[in-house]
Symmetry: C3
Subunit: 262 residues, 3 copies
Amino acid sequence: MIQPSRFTASPAASLSLFRQRSPLVHCLTNDVVQSFTANVLLALGASPAMVTEPVEAAQFSAIADAVLINVGTLTAARGEAMLAAAQSATAAGKPWTLDPVAVGALTFRSDFCQQLLAYRPAAIRGNASEIMALARQAVSGRGVDSLHDSAAALDAAVLLAQSSGAIVAVTGETDYVTDGERLVAVAGGSPLMTRVVGTGCALSAVVAALCALPGDRLQHIAAACRVMSQAGERAAAAAGGPGTFEPLFLDELYHQHREAAL
Amino acid sequence: MIQPSRFTASPAASLSLFRQRSPLVHCLTNDVVQSFTANVLLALGASPAMVTEPVEAAQFSAIADAVLINVGTLTAARGEAMLAAAQSATAAGKPWTLDPVAVGALTFRSDFCQQLLAYRPAAIRGNASEIMALARQAVSGRGVDSLHDSAAALDAAVLLAQSSGAIVAVTGETDYVTDGERLVAVAGGSPLMTRVVGTGCALSAVVAALCALPGDRLQHIAAACRVMSQAGERAAAAAGGPGTFEPLFLDELYHQHREAAL
Amino acid sequence: MIQPSRFTASPAASLSLFRQRSPLVHCLTNDVVQSFTANVLLALGASPAMVTEPVEAAQFSAIADAVLINVGTLTAARGEAMLAAAQSATAAGKPWTLDPVAVGALTFRSDFCQQLLAYRPAAIRGNASEIMALARQAVSGRGVDSLHDSAAALDAAVLLAQSSGAIVAVTGETDYVTDGERLVAVAGGSPLMTRVVGTGCALSAVVAALCALPGDRLQHIAAACRVMSQAGERAAAAAGGPGTFEPLFLDELYHQHREAAL
């Protein structure tokens, strides 16, 4: 098994590049987190858009710089749009990222995500249960929360990276990012982040956006994890609870974006 | 007619039990309030999830500890998922709660909710117009806001509780909770709560979650009303308007949750 | 070409009328901004409702005081509901407002919006790219953000107002409102408004709501632009970033509403 090395680089380099490019990110994400996801991307200087009719989703995925597919509130109709978007993104050479929400716990989406893998995602971001299920390891997820520590999914993450060709991020108290050969551990964050809906989903959107950048994708994705965990630490220190955490978290992301050199 | 008795108990007992159990709540709710509903449940220590494809909604309702069905943005497709979820929850012995948004004002959802009642909800939470309409009393609702004071619906609430077997909560300036025999009045709250979308819908989600607890369901639901109205009072005292009210309200719920003994 | 005159009137007259009437606004809007849109309307004292099943959307549009149609996350199914709502609103003499999100960049919605125009909107609110595309001028939009300054679309706005019979608002750093004969410029706002999702969409909802008032619709819509830009300026002055901007913005709208004489 590969031993994880600690991510010690500053995310500033990735953020600077991000600020220069201001990527247009097509988000096919779940109903619950759409607004928060858009606000996270806007705070970081990206340009989010959500387009859901299959024919438009395909057209737009070829125009966008990056695509996010999050199956949280998957329906048959939305699945069609997601397949069309993944296919179109792949054909146009645009990177797309998969967030396999609750895969393993529910059958329809588990089958659907296996089908999606054929379109070769650039990145996959999930919790331990989801990554283990996607790698077809035995798991016991229950709803959207992981019953496993992120470290428990390291083997699964490495195997999934190797079989899918994607960079895989397993997130939890510590986040792990692997390309199947290298394995980076990103520490930090705050327990308050688990009391606000969509922090994981929004991280996937940031991962998707950073896949639009040139350079070492593994490092960019580790930087995405660190940008989010750092904003989480700072917001948690100032917040009176999960309610005031959310606006402060967005402010922190905005400050990181503003401080990144152009 | 039954005379209402005032709810004077502390909601702390219900909250303690809630904190120990951390129920997984399957929310089939409307598009407008999904994020706020999830954040209210998370602040109180529950685990919310929204699953909308009919086959998954059925599968997940049997796994979850409680189910919420809110018809605010009902569509034919979502109606299918709701029927599947209600049927599956009933079959698995899991309690489900109905929020009959705008029933009475609109025909399609009024018929749909009558159909849903066959699956025996554990609880029903609505405003006066909605509860009167669901009890097939003459009403004049207009959109999502009640044209009646909650007290006007007391007879309807008692009758509906008797005919449906559900605990019925009619909420407004004063909230009333009845099982058809007992009738409890819960005072408190703030007018600012009517200037933020989803406070009523989120209360229904908390009611749904508390139905997962053992013990006296009427008392748990009255506690849910008091938890929300108390958080509303405290947040309103500190807020500069409805915008800053919302994060402060979530913080207050979180504090109530943290203070509940484990 | 018509020269724009500056809007120098106070929006207080429109807000007072608005406060007296408290219009019921039926919003058929996109998934991303539903909650924020509802909260903006609530802060200003209106009563928002979102009804999406075609048969109900038609029924409700005749009951409501005004209707908003925003095609941001258009699907074929939602398109049906929108056509039914526009038709029903027109038949009942209720004003409806079109927000042609990303028209020009995407084919399906561009065709759909041309079809919608047959139902004679009372108002249209978009950015420069969208208004130029809707007026069938050559444009180069990219996603939801305009690549043109609002001034570039003045000719298109005037032509569109003349051909559609609607008041047209092109918004950007300066907002322009025209009825095809008069042209009013509304200055103000804050760059932070572009880092929060839904400020444009919410403005369209306020425009829709103000169309329910008697009096000079051009002036009301210019007032809507000013109400929003003024709240934006004040919130931006107090905010630490786009996260804290949003609650402060809603508070400011609420204060403007409260200060408007009844």
